[in-house]
């Protein structure tokens, strides 16, 4: 009790501004350490490039130009950021309950596939797009939610590790889509690349007026804000965070741990399914192997970089979308393989996780008078 009184008393001495600065200094830990990790990863990657006889300066300037340099590259970046926001939310929401779910790729693929399948009878019956698109979207959300929700069920009721189960289910999801796309649902109009029947030009989601980006981006941002409110400002979110902090304490308080886990996983899967819907309805126009483009995996990195905070996910997704968008330019200009971006992302991920060890160790970020 004495400690609390003292802590409360200290800021009064320094006044409001000093208190604010003090709080900023302490919370800057969560921004500065990931930034530091990114810089360190960039340095390590420069060494890697130098060892290969390539110029890091050229690489990073191309990265800037290809991702953020021109209006066209911004469009390219934001188109990639849209699915990344949603797949990162698929990681971040269960992470609040202490679950590491990495199956966003599978939920995206199945969600997109379900959307494309749902559109077939409607398009053939000549339904207008204001009927087709909502049905597609709802199917994608439902299938994605069920898919990751099932991971939650397996986790809670069977004790199966959610990381392994969700990864395995990604492979199963891709196999299910391939099975139908190469078989029963293959559209003869696409002889070269097996695909489902196209949803048709009239049903494609257009761009946001004035931006060369489809509606998936604003929707993703709105979903991120809604989920931030859900996880930080509601009883549900509070219960979820208690569960993530200590399952036993949550059970002792009578919280419905199983229901929280399953619902959070279903919300997560619904986000990834929605990403699949936008990939089909705004980019591909049909379901095929291009759906498994790795957005689910990059989304994991986005979520970890954003420290599982739904609001921070938006800028981080734009940042990583930019890196991905620059991949083509780097490949052409420097003659490097397309996996270059993957190496950089992997390196960033590893360094970022290593940087977790720094939390609470730097005296600069500590509260005044904390002499640990």
């Amino acid at each position: 009790m004495a400690d609390i009184a003292q802590q409360d008393a200290t800021p009064a001495v320094y006044g409001g501004l000093a208190e604010l600065l003090d709080r900023l200094r302490r919370s800057s830990e969560y921004v500065l350490i990931p930034l530091f990790a990114l810089v360190a990863a960039g340095l390590l990657f420069s060494i890697f490039l130098l060892a290969l006889g390539q110029s890091p300066a050229t690489f990073f300037s191309l990265l800037w130009r290809g991702g953020f340099g021109t209006g066209f590259s911004w469009e390219n970046t934001l188109v990639r950021a849209a699915p990344l926001i949603l797949t990162a939310l698929c990681v971040a929401v269960p992470a609040r309950l202490g679950l590491t779910i990495v199956g966003g790729e599978g939920a995206l693929v199945l969600g997109g596939f379900a959307a494309a399948v749902a559109s077939i009878p409607l398009v053939n019956a000549g339904a207008p797009s204001f009927v087709v698109l909502p049905v597609m979207g709802l199917c994608a959300i439902a299938v994605g939610g069920l898919w990751i929700g099932l991971v939650g069920v397996l986790r809670h009721y069977r004790g199966i590790n959610e990381t392994i189960a969700s990864l395995l289910m990604s492979y199963i999801a891709i196999a299910i889509m391939n099975f139908f796309v190469e078989g029963a649902l293959r559209d003869p109009a696409n002889p070269n690349k097996p695909s489902t029947q196209a949803i048709g030009e009239a049903n494609m989601i257009g761009d946001v007026p004035g931006l060369g980006v489809h509606w998936g981006l604003p929707v993703g941002i709105v979903v991120a804000i809604l989920l931030w409110v859900l996880m930080n400002r509601t009883t549900f979110g509070f219960a979820a965070r208690v569960t993530g902090g200590n399952v036993r304490a949550a059970r002792a308080q009578g919280l419905p741990v199983g229901r929280l886990i399953v619902i959070s996983c279903a919300i997560a899967g619904a986000c990834a399914g929605l990403a699949g819907f936008f990939e089909v309805a705004a980019i591909q126009g049909k379901a095929n192997a291009s759906l498994a483009a790795g957005y689910g995996f990059t989304g994991i990195l986005v979520a970890f970089l954003a420290r599982q905070n739904p609001l921070a996910i938006v800028p981080v997704a734009v940042f990583l979308g930019g890196i991905a968008a620059a991949g083509g330019l780097i490949q052409r200009r420097m003659g490097m393989p397309d996996a270059t971006v993957q190496v950089l992302q992997g390196l960033m991920f590893v360094v970022l996780l290593v940087s977790e060890t720094l939390y609470g160790r730097m005296p600069f970020f500590r509260a005044r008078g904390d002499k640990r």
Partner: protein, 308 residues
């Protein structure tokens, strides 16, 4: 064809042959993972190690002309990945499961990066031992063409099983995995034991990758591994951290993986992609059947984060 056509008997035979052929990478990765998990740590990144091992093994075999040198290179590169994982995990507050995912993405990225020039060329393959010379059926002959690495894997499994039970090192690893405080009290460095176990486990996974690119399917491509490294992790749980059961489980997974190609060989192409999913479904069902939230698993290392 009349004398050698064995009709639908070809399906079980092809599954048997497939079990021997496809199981080897499962066997090596699961033995590596078994060793790592016995010391109390989980390495989910072995999928990346497997892919990088496949690439480096193929590249070295192509450049040097010796497939065995390729196997060694794959093992050493795997060891390198294991060492990174082992070093990072000993830092405080670092999540070993997340690091595994990151190493998986990093390893596959690096393998694709360096493997680009090796997609086209043909590297020398590992030789095989023909045990089917007594039979007139070419199908049986080809089924009994066994790769030496398969035999090495069997020996390794038995040796590990024996060593866990009977040697000082085996006891130290098991003790570290069951109770870090006990190992500390006995004066052993928990971090060092786990570091070594992860490093050696990475070596095994790398060798498993070399089998993929140098024997079956026998060429380096970006779609070479499809989750074998990950399935092996689940396989270790299923075999209750017993190297001998790892071998049996690897055979089972090999057979499941061979269903699709086996049916295709007798003309059933319907559902090829569905049968491709068989190993993943099998893994999932096995986990559902063998894991329970109410009791801890028999033989599970007490320090393992994944069963807690």
């Amino acid at each position: 064809m009349s004398g050698t056509d064995i009709g639908f008997w070809g399906v079980p035979l092809a599954m048997f042959a497939g079990a021997i052929r496809v199981s080897t990478p499962f066997l090596f990765v699961s033995l590596g993972e078994c060793l790592t998990e016995k010391s109390g740590r989980i390495n989910l990144g072995l999928e990346g190690t497997l892919v990088f091992g496949a690439m480096s093994g193929y590249a070295v075999s192509y450049l040097s002309g010796s497939p065995w040198l390729g196997v060694l290179a794959a093992g050493i590169s795997g060891m390198f990945f294991g060492a990174i994982h082992g070093y990072i995990c000993k830092l405080p507050k670092v999540n070993d499961i997340a690091i595994g995912i990151a190493m998986m993405l990093f390893g596959t990225g690096l393998a694709f990066f360096f493997g680009k020039p090796f997609i086209q060329p043909q590297a020398p393959h590992l030789p095989s031992i023909n045990l089917g010379g007594w039979s007139d059926y070419p199908q049986i002959q080809s089924a009994l063409e066994i790769n030496p690495l398969f035999l090495v894997g069997i020996v390794l499994a038995v040796a590990m099983w024996w060593a866990f039970k009977n040697t000082r090192w085996g006891l130290i690893i098991r003790m570290t995995g069951d109770s870090a405080p006990a190992a500390l009290a006995m004066g052993y460095s928990v971090d060092l034991v786990r570091f070594l176990a992860t490093t050696v486990g990475g070596f095994f996974a790398g060798v498993g990758g070399a089998f993929l690119s140098l024997y079956y399917p026998g060429a380096w491509s970006e779609g070479l591994s499809s989750g074998q490294g990950l399935m092996a992790v689940a396989l270790v749980i299923f075999s209750r951290w017993n190297p001998l059961l790892c071998f049996a489980a690897a055979l089972l997974f090999g057979a499941a993986g061979a269903i699709g190609p086996a049916l295709q060989s007798v003309g059933i192409t319907q559902g090829y992609y569905f049968f491709n999913a068989a190993p993943y479904l099998l893994t999932l069902f096995i986990m559902i059947a063998s894991v329970s939230p109410k009791r801890s698993l028999k033989g599970a290392p007490g320090e393992l984060s994944i069963t807690k």
